[in-house]
Symmetry: C2
Subunit: 208 residues, 2 copies
DNA sequence: GTCTATATAAGGATAGAC
DNA sequence: GTCTATCCTTATATAGAC
């Protein structure tokens, strides 16, 4: 449980600074690889002072994950039954790719957790995430059966979208080593590539 | 440098047991998260005995990575200029998917390294891996220009293939939480899905 | 609220008996 | 070659002064 005791502005500011620093450190080194020294230094505080705001290293990590869950589910949640199916799914791809560009640390934080078997947020994966995926897979299946998109397996489609978009955040080091982009212009190429791939895949039979 | 002094059969057997155990532990917990105690226990040896065979924790990890590099590059290396382009690329997808099914620990070991910025094998990524990717991207570009496959960006195609196939190993926990497969039958569905997606993507214009 | 100093534990590595 | 015992560093967390 997060403490609900009221906090002053300076408290909130310090907590936010610690969480920001912790996102940096945890996403780069993983939970075990991160140290409180690194987090404290990145936050510009002493180690005991960090522990004045959070009960433990585990507590910082947990609060980070908890705070990001909604953000993480939001693009899939936005998939709308009333929109144009192909357009909705292409928008989803685009939104996920933007998140890889704009929130790569968050992506790597989640990726590291899942990679290790989700020891600290298995409940999120088997709970809210699975529930939402099941719901949206049913929606996609409905589009398939109505002939509004091509015949694809909804679950593997969702996995493919996750994989191809998150790849640019999670494997950023590798992508940059190979493409050697200035700034982030490779995200534009990725966008074009993925739009082409998924629009071809999803286009219902005979519509081209 | 690896010692080149000759080793007895029992030495080779113990080294192999340690590496096998270390692959288990490193792939699940990452370099920092893994402990020599865990590796020793999994190998059925005492901790000092493990260090009799390997100079350090780092040495075990390094030898694991080094020993897997060739295996990891092999499928892409097999992409053959003389074969049918679409068939060659679909075979590559299939081979990579099989590796995710049959060597998930190896996939997660590499994924964990890249996720953390490849601190211990950046040289592999910027060296042999990049060289091979550049070479095969040129090959694919040739196929595009000859009109033998559809117009796609070779690099982003390779990234997409990596992402969509390795996802089933690296995010195994998440995939299983959502699909709840008996055994590994979801790999068959993934195979069908990915074959469909990539054959549609790669088919040259007007060939269907 | 913030710091210095420190308690305590975990983990990598070594010494030395067998 | 293999083990027990131990060294020593690192890292989480706490005590207590200010």
């Amino acid at each position: 449980m997060t403490e609900q005791r009221p906090r002053t502005r300076i408290q909130e500011k310090n907590r936010a600074m610690i969480l920001e620093a912790a996102l940096d450190v945890f996403s780069q080194h993983g939970f075990r690889g991160a140290t409180l020294d690194q987090i404290a230094k990145a936050a510009g505080l002493s180690k005991p002072n960090v522990l004045y705001y959070f009960a433990s290293k585990e507590a910082i990590h947990g609060e980070l994950l908890a705070g990001l869950m909604d953000t993480w589910l939001e693009p899939l949640r936005a998939l709308d039954d009333n929109g144009d199916p192909v357009g909705e799914l292409l928008d989803y791809v685009e939104r996920k790719l933007e998140m890889s560009r704009d929130m790569p640390r968050e992506s790597r934080l989640f990726a590291g957790e899942v990679l290790q078997g989700a020891p600290r947020f298995g409940a999120f994966v088997t709970g809210p995430l699975k529930t939402l995926v099941d719901e949206k897979a049913a929606l996609i299946r409905g589009w398939v059966e109505a002939g509004r998109i091509a015949r694809v397996d909804p679950y593997h489609l969702i996995f493919a979208i996750w994989a191809t978009t998150q790849h640019y955040a999670d494997f950023d080091t590798q992508v940059r080593a190979i493409l050697q982009p200035e700034d982030n212009e490779h995200f534009d190429d990725a966008r074009v590539f993925l739009r082409g791939m998924y629009s071809g895949l999803l286009r219902p039979d005979g519509s081209h």
